[in-house]
């Protein structure tokens, strides 16, 4: 189930990559020696593909590029890159000084933007707590050990290289505050011990906020302490380790059938693409790789998927929803609890409140070996703060604090600030209203 790919169609603000098929050739020995000269000499060079390390990513990116070509969708990251370019007064002349573009984040949005950025005119400075880009559609496979974590990683610094020469900087840290009036960001290092954190300020000509989203626990007690997430690579690693701990615990001699059943009950909260894929990967594991080494555990595995809405993959069209729902309902090892809500998570149990068909609300506690929380996302604090600031700058009232961008991905109310990806919302939203039409067009073009 490659549900995450469907995000391409549904999410209006998810950027798409425009990537060349070949790698850069290394700088020739006769090329000029100073970095500045070498950067200028690279004018004609194509940007480096984002999948410098991983063969899987290369394959996936090819698929993605062809998908994008077929559907004819426009990339917001490319729009932002060209908007930054056209906003520059010296846009069509070779610049005396490259203008500094600070990019916050190293996820899909940031990486797509960097792939489209003309680094002979702009000097990117990327600030992110992670020095690598994560190929998120493969994360559920990392959770069950089908793929190693390294298959989903590409170093951000690699993406700043053109023809063997680094054309930008990367700083590992988090942006604590964006000051749009002073045109600078306040940063903090995130490595080492907390008391050793270093602070610095980074000024910019242009700012691209692509800070993504944080996990949303909706204030449910016990989630932070006991649940596992599938947001970052580190989450996937932690989940994999916990999954195999559970399997090994259930495998040692002297564990009762009852205990084994409890340990091998996996609860996935949220039937969005991430939740559905994780549930499918866990099931696949016990049917495929796990079947050889843990045949005795196979009949005891049970997966419960808890979803608040009456359907799965709610962001997608009805056919996709019905297909995924049928697959899950037909699987004898999967319990699909729709119209249900997790109200508490313990170290080895979960409390679920279900709205029954007769309208009555039922609450029950289920023992479980592992709980995966894939229920929702929220804006990071730095983005909420920026949203409030921009609303003030526009002298507007804002109901929900979210960064609003125009069709050029420019943050409304801020000069020189752009936003991309999960951390912002298009205003007015032009694509989501036509999602169904887009689905049909994509299907028709795919079939042609």
């Amino acid at each position: 189930m490659a549900g995450q790919w469907l995000r391409l169609l549904a999410g209006a603000s998810v950027p798409m990559l425009s990537l060349p098929a070949r790698c850069d050739s290394p700088a020739s020995p006769s090329s000029p020696s100073s970095t500045k000269e070498r950067v200028s000499a690279l004018l004609a060079q194509p940007p480096r593909p984002f999948s410098a390390f991983s063969p899987v990513s290369t394959w996936m990116s090819t698929k993605w590029t062809s998908f994008r070509l077929r559907t004819g969708l426009l990339s917001p990251a490319a729009v932002a890159a060209s908007a930054v370019a056209s906003a520059s007064p010296a846009a069509r002349e070779a610049p005396a000084r490259r203008q500094k573009v600070v990019v916050v984040g190293s996820g899909w949005a940031a990486v797509s933007f960097l792939a489209d950025l003309d680094m002979t005119r702009y000097e990117p400075v990327v600030i992110s707590p992670r020095d690598y880009f994560t190929f998120t559609p493969l994360l559920p496979s990392v959770c069950v050990g089908t793929l190693p974590a390294s298959a989903c990683m590409t170093g951000v610094r690699e993406l700043l290289v053109r023809g063997g020469v680094p054309c930008g900087s990367f700083y590992e840290g988090r942006v604590a505050e964006i000051c749009p009036t002073e045109k600078k960001v306040r940063c903090q290092s995130t490595h080492g011990k907390a008391q050793d954190a270093r602070e610095w300020e980074e000024s910019y000509d242009y700012l691209v906020v692509a800070a993504g989203a944080d996990v949303n626990t909706f204030g449910v007690p016990g989630v932070k302490e006991n649940a596992f997430f599938v947001k970052e690579l580190e989450d996937a690693r932690r989940l994999r380790s916990a999954l195999f701990d559970v399997i090994e615990t259930a495998s040692v001699p002297g564990v009762s059938e009852e205990e084994k059943k409890k340990l091998l009950h996996f609860v996935v909260v949220g039937a969005g693409p991430t939740g559905v894929e994780v549930a499918a990967e866990i099931d696949d594991f016990f049917q495929a790789e796990g079947a050889t080494h843990f045949p005795q555990l196979r009949p005891l595995v049970r997966i419960t998927v808890v979803e608040m809405l009456p359907t799965v993959l709610a962001a997608y069209n009805n056919d996709v929803q019905a297909f995924a729902k049928r697959l899950l309902e037909e699987n004898p090892r999967v319990d699909l609890c729709l119209q249900s809500q997790v109200v508490g998570v313990g170290p080895d149990s979960v409390k679920v409140r279900t709205k029954r068909a007769d309208g009555q609300v039922e609450e029950k506690e289920m023992p479980c070996g592992l709980l995966v929380w894939a229920s929702g996302i929220k804006s990071p604090k730095v983005c909420l703060d920026l949203a409030r600031k921009t609303a003030e700058l526009r002298e507007a009232q804002q109901q929900s604090p979210v960064i609003l961008v125009d069709q050029q991905m420019k943050v409304r109310g801020c000069e020189g600030v752009y936003a991309l990806g999960d951390c912002c919302r298009l205003s007015p939203p032009p694509l989501v209203q036509h999602a169904d039409t887009l689905y049909e067009a994509a299907t028709a073009k795919g079939a042609a």
Copy 2:
């Protein structure tokens, strides 16, 4: 510097693999269905190569096998496997019941033993805290990110499969006690929280102790808390993470030259093969991969190697020692502190006591960003206990508690117990006395 390979020649009790060149074919559809029948049908099948997952390991194992063939050295693991076989009264007949061989550990010794074990006659039960075998010669490359951790791992359960059928069991846990008179071992699970640890007993017909060795800190204060090790894959991962933390900290704006120098001072304690290789890998990193992305840090890197003896790679012959010493001394980025001893390790400094040429002892404290402890190993507690028990059984006094084995790797004083690898010592030691002759023979055969 592939120094660890030299262990093959020097260590008498380090086992060597005897591996076939091809993989098993999967069980054919017409093969008999019950596990017992299928196991019997596998009589003619060759053992599965240990490098089932990793292409690098496959390449290395081929190199190793050819090295072994050239030098003509005998594998202690193969000796033990054939000793177990010849000790069985029904050795030459197909057994009614497979005899149970409990293997403690999943390192080189255990894995080599399993590769040579006839699983149609013996049922292996492997107990180890790690469900994977680590290809240790590649660990220093994992420390600097040249290789992903997955390149050095092979699942132990894969090694128990013959023709697609698991022919043995693996339990993740540690052996707390060996009871040779009752012919059983007491085990504890190591996963999950400590309070959830489960205990069980495993009886055996034959026991193979291949528990390896633990890191020896020699009681130096601060080592456990502040140093990084290169013993297990998890150590290498931790070291890699710390190394890149240091690099990222030194890269953020506003860090003074003085601070950068302090952060980029790496201290390696112990100039054995592991220490020498780690020092070389760190240096290589800044000269190769790191040179592109951290050119500004490159001139500030300094590596200090601290060694108590007056030479490096002391276990090897004089030519090897002189070669390695010259390489390190000629490297302008490396300080080689021989006849020096670490007497204390702080969070960002190390105290070193050096014996000067004039016989005087000098003590100085050096600031450093990272300290790698590769100084020595010691027997695990379970092996020390067994050594004491066997000495009692033999009614002998034992000066240093170590498991003594005869030329068939049989533990002296215990019936049905064998030991392999770092956790035991040959008594009398036949190979070490002839190490120089062996070196010369190997060199001559290699040149021929």
